[in-house]
Amino acid sequence: MKLSIKFTTIILTLTFLAFSQSISAQDTFENLDFESANVSGHSPGNLVPISDALPGWSAYFTSGTTTYPQTQVVYDGISLGGAVISVIDDNAAAFSPLQGNYSAFLFGGGYGVNEVLASASISQTGSVPSGTESLLFDAYVYGAPFTVALGGQTINMTPLQAFQNYTEYGGNIPSSLAGQIETLSFTEPPATGAQPSMFELDDISFSTNAVTPEPSIVALTAIGGLLFGARKGFARR
């Protein structure tokens, strides 16, 4: 009898631990700097289980309304036109991590045997810290613009500061999402023209400060827009 009670206690304890572990995993966003990657034993170019390459994250391609979940991502795979989700380190050709030892890299493009055009996404569900007003991250972008969504709402990301190899982006999030468990996703759509579509991502963080783009960035964006409008105006004439 005593043995049975002890056994039941152990089971309940283990169940509680497992449950609390699960809650904890779901509760907190993890690996936002992608430094938890464990690619030991893999050669560049190999497929690596996503639980090792991008712990905490899910990965998937989307074409139209069809989603293709991925269980593996490529280690140091730099796409030449295909839809690819990759974790890169300093062994990757032509690119290096934006911060630390690892970055995530999303490429939109051809996917599957029939090469449908697909977007590449990673996502994670967790608790948005209370008091959060904005989302920040570093990125290198080429081709089609990326999208960021939190709780199903698209977050309008603004370039905050340009560095030599990347730009820091920030976007204000709806106050209703702070303190809630929500899904955060990053997506790079397929290219629309001949250019490839790439989005290297690192150092994601939540901030209690709202984002205000630096005047110089705002000014440059405004001037660019004016010039573009003027060019289109001339073209029409």
Partner: protein, 435 residues
């Protein structure tokens, strides 16, 4: 003893070459004539450095799956000799043993192109021919591949134990992609090279530049082989245009591209050529990063072309660069090899804003008329190769400059490093051509 491919006899000893590349010797050994070096039959030459009058050439890495290691044997009174296979040595190819042509019995076009090759391409009329009956789609399912493509090839090898062809040509309507379910599908060429039969790793190339629409492009390609062969290399299996005075002397490497700043394959190719003794005056190189957004930063005209590289759809050339007159060739520009840096360029249907190998061999390619400016050989990918999985440009063009046969240039550029990334190589063209 079985599966003997060749035999040689001395005064009182004999040597036999078995179809797995091993040697067997017996008889008088008073001078050590039957001592076969233990390491020889399995030796894989991985790096060879060649010194020329212009200094050392780059070290060329041989294919990791070489064809039969020992190719020739001979015996004297009290000695024996064996020649290890090396594509760097152009031994006399016996097409009755060393060339296998494969066509698809389910496609009349495939049969016709193969037959046309046999009857019009110089010096191959006695080659081995195998008809297989699989899908004629670009993509083949694993079961169809095992039963109707690899299976018949394995049977052919079993019934021809004295033949282990180092060269295989796949004709139009033989599938080029194996649907393994992997994110990046391997090429049928790669599968045949690496896993069709034990101790057999042939250089597989394709004459499939027509896709599914008729046979004109394939026939025109074979006509070119016949024309250049008879005019510049009469009576030779290995056709060299430059040996007969053809003026394919210039190299064009257009590295202008959108967003891969640290990677410049054309530059490595240029360095390989210079090391191989090619005059820098014959090499035209451009590298603008990021792409300038128009054709002004690209190589748009080329004369007497020996080799061409570009970034295709990853630049302002756009995906139709081969046929929209963005790039125009002049002079003697029908005997060159090319490569582009882009995914899917080995698929029949252009994908994702990228170029496509069929357009390279079209009648109006590169500003030509009636196939005047098409290449004689090309390497491409049937799926995403990733940046590092693309062919090694230095090895590819360097070997072509060194006048290796095209089959070797193509396959040798698929290095160990490439194979970590992808298995989607497709080598398009006749194996026995040199610059």
């Amino acid at each position: 003893m079985s599966n003997v491919m060749a035999i040689a006899a001395g005064s009182a000893h004999g040597v036999a070459l078995i179809n797995d590349g091993t040697l067997v010797a017996w008889g008088d050994n008073s001078s050590g004539q039957t001592n076969i070096p233990a390491e020889q039959p399995t030796t894989v030459i991985t790096t060879i450095t060649i010194t020329t009058t212009n200094g050392p050439m780059p070290s060329f890495q041989t294919n990791t799956h070489p064809p039969i290691v020992c190719k020739l044997i001979a015996a004297g009174g009290f000695h024996s000799m064996a020649a290890l296979y090396s594509p760097l040595v152009q031994y006399p190819v016996d097409v009755t043993k060393d060339l296998l042509l494969i066509y698809n019995t389910n496609s009349i076009d495939s049969s016709n192109v193969c037959q046309y090759y046999l009857t019009h391409r110089p010096m191959v009329s006695n080659a081995n021919v195998l008809g297989i009956g699989c899908t004629n789609s670009e993509i083949i399912e694993p079961s169809d591949y095992a039963t109707n493509l690899a299976g018949p090839v394995q049977s052919w090898l079993a019934t021809n134990p004295t033949k282990r062809p180092s060269y295989v040509i796949l004709f139009q309507d033989i599938p080029s992609r194996l649907d393994t379910g992997a994110p990046s599908t391997p090429s049928v060429q790669y599968e045949l090279n690496t896993s069709c039969a034990t101790n057999w790793s042939p250089f597989v190339t394709s004459i499939n530049m027509n896709g599914t629409d008729g046979t004109n492009d394939c026939i025109a390609y074979i006509n070119k082989l016949a024309s250049i062969g008879s005019n510049y290399s009469p009576g030779q299996l290995i056709i060299s245009a430059s040996a007969g005075g053809y003026g394919n002397t210039n190299w064009y490497f257009d590295d202008t591209e959108c967003c891969y700043a640290a990677d410049a394959p054309g530059m490595t190719a240029e360095q390989a050529l210079i090391q191989a003794g090619v005059s820098s005056n014959s090499i035209f190189y451009t590298n603008v990063y990021p792409d300038c957004g128009s054709l002004t930063c690209h190589i748009t005209t080329a004369t007497n072309v020996a080799g061409y590289l570009c970034w295709g759809g990853h630049s302002s050339l756009g995906p139709s660069y081969a046929t929209n007159e963005s790039i125009q060739c002049f002079g003697q520009s029908t005997w060159y090899v090319m490569q582009t840096i882009e995914s899917f360029n080995g698929q029949r249907n252009p994908c994702c804003g990228l170029g496509n190998f069929l357009s390279w061999f079209a009648s109006n390619a590169f500003g030509g008329t009636n196939y005047s400016n098409t290449p004689v050989g090309a390497v491409c990918n049937v799926d995403e190769p990733y940046l590092l999985g693309n062919n090694n440009s230095a090895l590819y063009f360097g070997e072509w400059a060194a006048e290796r046969i095209f089959a070797y240039c193509g396959w040798n550029s698929f290095t160990i490093e490439n194979q970590n990334y992808s298995h989607c190589l497709q080598v398009v063209g006749d194996p026995f051509t040199t610059k």
